[in-house]
Symmetry: C3
Subunit: 396 residues, 3 copies
């Protein structure tokens, strides 16, 4: 349903959120008003795009994409977001560049930023590294801006790190907010963030971590469920618990998919690697221990194989609220008999919710654009209003 542009702009102005000059790295570093401002901007941009209003608030300017892990979806979401705002994407491909030859992060961060307005970074493979890398880049940019090297301080957007995946969890949130009819309707709803079996290995922890840390802020009852040993990073468990307490929701961890799915309004079954495995993997990668890495993969896949029962199938979905719980996934899902023999979700369940998951993903370009707009504009509401009122057409 179309949103009321003027009402949203008024609400945005009234929030008093101030992300200007900041980065967007972790949702739990941001206030409720700041998150709200990103949500409102995202929905405004999505609506205005649908209404054929140009949103190019930058007339030239670069956005740097720095993907330290492969990606199709996030790469396209980022490219879409940048293009929507009028920025041109320039990839920083460290494989091809001189960074691989011992160059410091500090220097490179400045060298790529002379005409850059935003930097999107995906660095999710190494526990203890991804977020730290983004902070390092941020400090280098502060240094360059303060010292007059840069005319502007580019905003960093976390496109997935070892701790959080804010563009994903906030897209998920907008999808369920609209599905249930508003943020207030989420209060008291149960969401099951559960592990699910996949024949692959080493999937990042940032999606479940991001989800439990964000959903607990809206008065929801969040149950995290996984087989024993498949723990998330302790600091994110702590954040989720504190958030639940503050918001009047609840947070619990179990080792039972049944428990989690029971009467759940929302389920998010998804594979990940145990954080202990990810930590060992990081160490082995640092030592370039190829044999050790192969052994670890073998061990981990064998471990996974004990939990093939963790599949989201029709029987499990029957146990959700009225048998009609909402299925979420960040995509791509490992679909049994479709993308693999045995996976995270059965083909029939996925097919039922497929279009929903596509729409869930459809918020991401606008969430990314909203983060960039919020972090680079003193008054995003005013900028968006100006574009809206200009009466121009994006597509002739």
């Amino acid at each position: 349903m179309p949103i009321d542009i003027d009402k949203s702009l008024t609400e945005l102005s009234g929030l008093g959120a101030d992300l200007y000059g900041k980065d967007f790295l972790l949702t739990w570093e941001k206030s409720d008003a700041e998150l709200k401002s990103v949500f409102i901007i995202a929905e405004l941009l999505k609506e205005l795009h649908a209404r054929n209003i140009p949103l190019d608030m930058f007339r030239t300017g670069l956005a740097v994409s720095n993907f330290r892990d492969n990606s199709t979806r996030t790469r396209f979401s980022f490219a879409s977001a940048c293009n929507l705002l009028g920025l041109a994407v320039q990839d920083l491909d460290e494989g091809k560049s001189q960074i691989a030859h011992g160059e410091t992060v500090r220097e490179t961060s400045n060298m790529i930023s002379f005409l850059t307005e935003a930097i999107g970074i995906r660095d999710d493979m190494f526990i203890g590294k991804g977020h730290a890398y983004m902070k390092e880049v941020a400090e280098a940019l502060d240094d360059g801006f303060k010292n007059g090297v840069l005319n502007q301080r580019p905003a960093i957007v976390n496109l997935q790190c070892d701790l959080d995946h804010p563009t994903q969890s906030m897209s998920d949130m907008l999808f369920i907010k609209n599905h249930f009819g508003g943020f207030d309707k989420l209060r008291g709803k149960k969401i099951a963030m559960t592990w699910a079996y996949s024949p692959s290995y080493g999937k990042p922890l940032s999606v479940p971590q991001g989800v439990i840390c964000l959903m607990t802020r809206y008065g929801m009852n969040v149950e995290l469920a996984h087989p024993e040993g498949y723990d998330l990073l302790p600091e994110t468990i702590k954040v989720a618990g504190e958030n639940a307490k503050k918001s009047g929701g609840s947070f619990m961890v179990s080792n039972s998919m049944e428990s989690a799915f029971k009467d759940a309004d929302i389920v998010y079954p998804k594979s990940w690697a145990p954080c202990k495995v990810m930590e060992r993997r990081t160490q082995l990668l640092e030592k370039s221990d190829q044999a050790g890495l192969k052994d670890l993969e073998k061990e981990c896949l064998a471990q996974n194989a004990k939990h093939t029962g963790w599949e989201c199938d029709e029987a499990r979905m029957k146990a959700t609220r009225g048998g009609e719980g909402l299925y979420l996934h960040c995509l791509p899902a490992d679909i049994t008999d479709v993308s693999c023999k045995q996976g995270e979700v059965s083909a029939s369940v996925f097919e039922k919710y497929r279009i929903g998951t596509y729409k869930e993903a459809g918020y991401k370009p606008f969430i990314i654009a909203a983060m960039m707009a919020a972090c680079t504009k003193k008054n995003p509401a005013k900028v968006i209003e100006a574009l809206y009122k200009a009466g121009q057409k994006r597509v002739l």
Copy 2:
């Protein structure tokens, strides 16, 4: 010679062609009026570009390029076309992306399209696959658009498949149309689409197939000539025959370069692989049978080597109409003593027609842009007229 903009716009409006919301995959799926509309738009865009008129009918928007085969020319033509219309190109590199990991076409097609206006696909290596893949993407986009996943339905442009190469054949057509002074002047002209020897192997069939299927629609006498066994796909032979009948031209297949060149107004000598070989190759590739593929290549090169006499040299050109037949090539040509020891064309013939082949290629960016404009605009004439009348300069 510059075209009359107003006259062309009037002619375009009068055609009543409606490609809006459609894809451009095969010329033989399109009506004469639809082809005509693309030709007129292409010439309008080319002329307005030369007159320094901005043609950015999209103010932001992505165009996805999906090259499943290497390309320089087509890649640049596509990038040029997109840029001309105001779209930013985002490459879908399946080698680097998660598509390689079992993701479905349906899902990816939607994931890359949230803010996408056009998708260019080159998939010409596998008989029975390329066109089928494009249709599959098209269905996925229909599904996503119908279900509200996408705000807009991106138009697919075939940048070369196993069946057709419409952006090439239509560029060729504009070149000969202008060379001879109009579409009506082509009536009764003889064009020889002939095989030619090349030391390489596995060249796609889509160029000769595209040419015989398109040129037969304009009352031309089309002779396809190749050594025995170097057949094109039967369905394209059928289309060419039917088209010739309808248009009052003719279509014949021979095994003689002499026959084809005799009194030809136009010659198009170019190497390709026999469709039987391409089919076996597809099967071997599917089985990843590297040894089989090597054997096939060896066999095929040996077979080719029997036909080194199929070269377009000065003696052969003498046999064309008045010794002055027009030489066409899609480039790059295998030029004897230039790019190889023995190739498709002698150095002196190529040099004589070199600038012509460059101009022939020069239509391609505008043909691609025209296809995109025709498939995404309800009234392309009105859009172009608005840009023309706005009196802006593309380059200050």
Copy 3:
């Protein structure tokens, strides 16, 4: 300090420099007025960018980047420059393209240029090749433009060749010009362009060559110092000598870092490979003699290792003018104990001048943009004035 826009525009107009329709390949092919015009345009663009004025003098148009050697900095500088002017970058990746398959430079140059306004080329690995390649592309473009293949003649910008690195040396020059307070303040200043030890091998000669050929034009006393055998190309030594004579400065070559640093106002210590080694390397590369290349690398590294004393450390800096000589580097520097065990510069010296080197690099995007603007605009002053007076904002 902000520059006076109107004064700069007047000065620019008054120069009567005419680079329109030309390429920018070597500084020593350009008149003093032409160089001056590029400097003024670069500073205008930099200032107007800082003032949030849009500088998109192209409303659509491609810029081709052709990097035959890896690069982060120059790639980003080029992308930034193109984006600033309104051009979209399209990479010509010869590894991926059909150029690798025997295609001629002449043909490709035209095929990539139908809608192209500028081409940036980096080709610095092979002595006798890089500049020659750029000239070949230039001739191909002249041919295509003259024969009506191209609507416009794209301007070629040398992003580093075997002879010169004009975008680097001119950025260096703007940095020192502003550091000392004007071109006239450089007269009589001593600059030491010296070799420095690096554990790497095969660094191009174009930076020192570019520096000695440019700095000698401004009445400076230029001392080139390197260990015996680490000669630059003789033709650049000749140019530097002639330039010094004309400008009233001086040029000398020594084999002593001490001599060069003594009372130097500016030092530029940087590693490079002896031109004899680069020539042998080119020959070996042409023969694909892998064993020979490995032997040469080993020999060259062993040779380098005899000169680890050529490091810019605090003791050496003390010998410069008042102990406060200005340190320059094109980055990335090989910093002792930071990026390597033993390198070109000590960590403390680099840290002292680090921000300066970043600012030095910060001129490059604007120098590149200025070269493109100067070579594609009949009256760059008028174009820039129009953008300045339009009163638009680049970032809303």
